[in-house]
Amino acid sequence: MRYLPLTDADRGAMLARIGASSIDDLFVDVPQEARLSGPIEGLPLHASEMAVEQHMRRLSKKNLAAADAPFFLGAGAYRHHVPATVDHIIQRGEFLTAYTPYQPEIAQGTLQMLFEFQSQVARLYGCAVANASMYDGSTACWEAVAMAGRVTRRKRVVLSGALHPHYAEVVRTMAKFTDDEIADALPSLQGTPDNAGLIARIDEETSCVVVQYPDILGRIPDLAAIVEAAHAKGALLIAVNTEPVALGAIKAPGELGADIVVGEGQAIGVGLQFGGPYLGLFAVRDPKHVRQMPGRLCGETVDAEGKRGFVLTLSTREQHIRREKATSNICTNSGLCALAFSVHMTLLGEEGLRRLASWNHALACKAADRLARVPGVRVLNDSFFNEFTLVIDGDAREIVRKLADDGVLAGVSLGRLYPAEEALKGGLLVAVTETTPEEDIETLASALEGALS
């Protein structure tokens, strides 16, 4: 076994030192009837590296990789070019194979990186403080809701109808067990988000209002108005962002007054990966909320010789100290994805991020104009960043499947996201990034024309 260094001679010598006559002696506390006498039946035995690689490659080839097709999917996961440097760095053994930095003297690499990451996220979100990452955007969203409950001591949660339905479902699921009351809604197929309807649902019992920005249909809501309404009722505003590149072009939620900003960081540095691991981002606008935040925090301090150093801090909020009184049960986070995000963001810098965002938006505008010319298709959005909603005469879900058979990955149908809603079935989310060649836009337009004619 290539991963197991002990030889049989070693094992013998070690048993002798221990004073056991066989390995089985070490399992003596396991009731005999529970001990298996040999390898579990029906499962294959060990395999060479080559055999495993070949098997996994065969499986991988059964998937259509985004690079191998015109590709327009978004809806919470975005395809961007990730510089080769990012992967090089996250494969450094010192980052890849380190543990959570509980021993700061020999973990300054991870800790300084996390401090830089927190600072980058806080600035991107227009917030005071960000944590060291969460599992993903959807769980970060739930954690924000739970935090709002702790801060406001209220139980009513107002979800925008244009919140990603999977995020809403995670919130609803968790709320079942915490007796929060969830006020949710469906998105309406209008060019501009229904702020008035949302504001009307906020009341004095509301702990928080959750608004996606840009929203699930790609529209860019004016957060400031909702913030004002929420604050007027004593509720917190939670802004959810699933495309961080957008924040190179549009105002930061924190700038607009959002109290908690959470999101999915996958678009920067992490890649698609069929949905995971992703990177939950979590920040608060007001530093006084820090002690109610979930997740790990890295802070600056000094060592015994006065040198600057970094440590995990405020861990009295965490489960390993607080046990049942912790702010969250989160333990592992997305450290390596945070590194990938931070390296990519460092390469971009503000200048690169703004250029990247402008480029995405410009290409998306081109795509919207072109697709609007397809008969039977209209572009819903009055505003968008790099993703917009087409409304199609027909069942968009069927069209997406049909185009996939022809090797075109046309986008995400609203039917996939809201299978029960007849009214939404003509909706098709189309995302366009710098990785989308202009000729692929033409291919999509032609394919849609063909499918709709």
Binding site: Y99, P277, T332, L336, R416
Partner: protein, 489 residues
């Protein structure tokens, strides 16, 4: 040379990418253009590579040496698995692609699920939880859903004293009252105390087995039977599954739910704090309540993705909901499956045996110098527990741990489990060689001797690390959690 922060290395007008500059003109951003400065520094590629390479060298890692963190299971991460996770068919696939274009991805999930079920002797598995704690929550939510489905909501979850901190946090989160169960003198759950506490208000017992004292719970089956007889469920914390994988099936011991840390037992890299992955295996009684989405293979061999829409087709209408946006940690699934296929049923068995052998070897090689509180309770499993009894006055577990840093090692887990004073939990894992263990044992003996002898220089250790002891109190008292420009202050 000290490495500055990125904010100290560059301004916001430089960049390490070459992107076109799009001239202004009309946009469709709805009037929300970001105009104020953001404050993100940009470094050229050479500066970026150097910054992170230098930072990395201030870390300790498995690739550099033994990482004996008890209960954290720091074992070697095979490089094959990294290569596989990066195959474009896995890495460059969107979670919402039409199912016809992701058959291979679904097969990976299903194949891994099959192994996890078989290795644990359970009935089903929820693959989507994102980490161990998330998996725990999933398991407890399954239990709550099952109890509610039978109209028997209960209020209490019993947790042994020695549990991981996540256990009570999870139970509390799910709305339960947590009660502790004491341990007996030999470090195991007190069966009689447990039985005495069982009753119609007890929803579940959460047990870690092997437990956090590194011992196998001999009475596991009796515990399960008693809990079941009282109408409750048995949750097993699977963080220590690596000690028994391939040797013992938790399902045979009456477990109803157990999360599996793929990043521990199946060696996906810890990455400085994640990502992990925490699938939860479920008994027949709990399987109907497992969350969406998941995969199912039909008789024709096709693997289906089961979501809200088609749950009824797969007779899974009682799912308690959805724990995360997409399908779980695909990147961890590919790595874990590669690990499992590499070892096979025989190799995994060997993993458990070697992990236990290595831990006992350490236990018996230092117990004359380091007090092993349960050394007489039988062999340990994959980790060896020591206490600070015998240290000279004024020296602590922390001092010993930091002195170990100067010997070139990462310290063991300290002050956990809480049931032992000054606890030190040492888990070598199966991927250490005998020569490596002997070297570590020599170092451990050396610091233990110094602790017994009262070497006060240990109080200032480490001396040879990138940093001396860091002031954690200052960090917490005056938190500085983000960089701010001193020039603008």
């Amino acid at each position: 040379l000290e490495e500055p922060l990125i904010f100290e290395l560059a301004g916001t007008d430089t960049t390490g990418v070459d992107l076109p500059e799009i001239e202004g003109g009309p946009n469709r951003l709805g009037g929300m253009e970001r105009t104020a400065p953001i404050g993100l520094p940009g470094l050229s590629e050479p500066e970026t590579v150097r910054h992170y390479t230098r930072l990395s060298r201030q870390n300790y890692a498995i690739d550099l040496g033994l990482f004996p963190l008890g209960s954290c299971t720091m074992k070697h991460n095979p490089r094959l698995n990294e290569k596989i996770a990066r195959m474009p068919g896995f890495a460059d696939v969107h979670p919402l692609q039409p199912v016809s274009t992701v058959r291979g991805a679904l097969e990976v999930i299903n194949e891994l699920a099959f192994w996890l079920i078989d290795l644990t002797g359970m009935h089903g598995v929820a693959m989507s939880p994102k980490a161990g704690a998330h998996g725990e929550l999933c398991g407890i939510l399954c239990i709550r859903a099952a109890l509610e489905a039978r109209g028997d909501p209960r209020e209490v979850i019993l947790v042994p004293e020695s549990a991981h901190g996540t256990n009570p946090a999870t139970a509390a989160f799910a709305g339960y009252r947590v009660e502790n169960i004491p341990a007996n003198a030999d470090g195991r759950v007190d069966l009689e105390a447990l039985k005495a506490r069982l009753g119609p208000d007890v929803a579940a017992v959460m047990i870690t087995n092997p437990n956090t004292c590194g011992l196998f719970e001999r009475d596991m089956k009796a515990i399960s039977d008693a809990v079941h007889a009282a109408g409750g469920f048995v949750y097993c914390d699977g963080a220590n599954f690596n000690a028994i994988v391939g040797k013992i099936r938790p399902g045979d011991l009456g477990v109803d739910a157990m999360h599996i840390n793929l990043h521990k037992t199946f060696s996906t890299p810890h990455g400085g704090g994640g990502p992990g992955s925490g699938p939860v295996v479920l008994s027949e009684a709990l399987s109907p309540y497992g969350p969406l989405p998941f995969t199912a293979r039909t008789a024709d061999g096709v693997v289906h993705l089961v979501e809200e829409e088609n749950a009824a087709e797969f007779d899974h209408t009682q799912a308690f909901g959805r724990m995360t946006a997409f399908h779980g940690q695909m990147g961890m699934f590919t790595r874990a499956l590669a690990y499992i296929l590499s070892h096979g049923a025989d190799g995994l068995r060997q993993v458990a045996e070697d992990a236990v052998l290595n831990a006992n070897y350490i236990l018996r090689s230092v117990e004359d110098l380091l007090e092993a509180p349960f050394g007489k309770s039988g062999p340990c499993m994959h980790e060896a527990l020591f206490s600070d009894a015998g240290f000279s006055e004024g020296l602590s577990t922390l001092d010993l741990a930091k002195s170990l840093v100067d010997e070139g090692y990462h310290p063991m887990t300290m002050y956990f489990p809480l049931v032992v004073h000054g606890a030190m939990l040492v888990e070598p894992t199966e991927t250490e060689s005998k020569a490596g263990l002997d070297q570590f044992i020599a170092a451990l003996r050396s610091v233990a001797e110094r602790a017994r002898a009262g070497d006060v220089s240990m109080k200032q250790a480490p001396y040879y690390a990138p940093r001396r002891r860091l002031d954690e109190t200052l960090a917490a008292r005056k938190p500085v959690l983000a960089w701010s420009d001193p020039d603008s202050a």
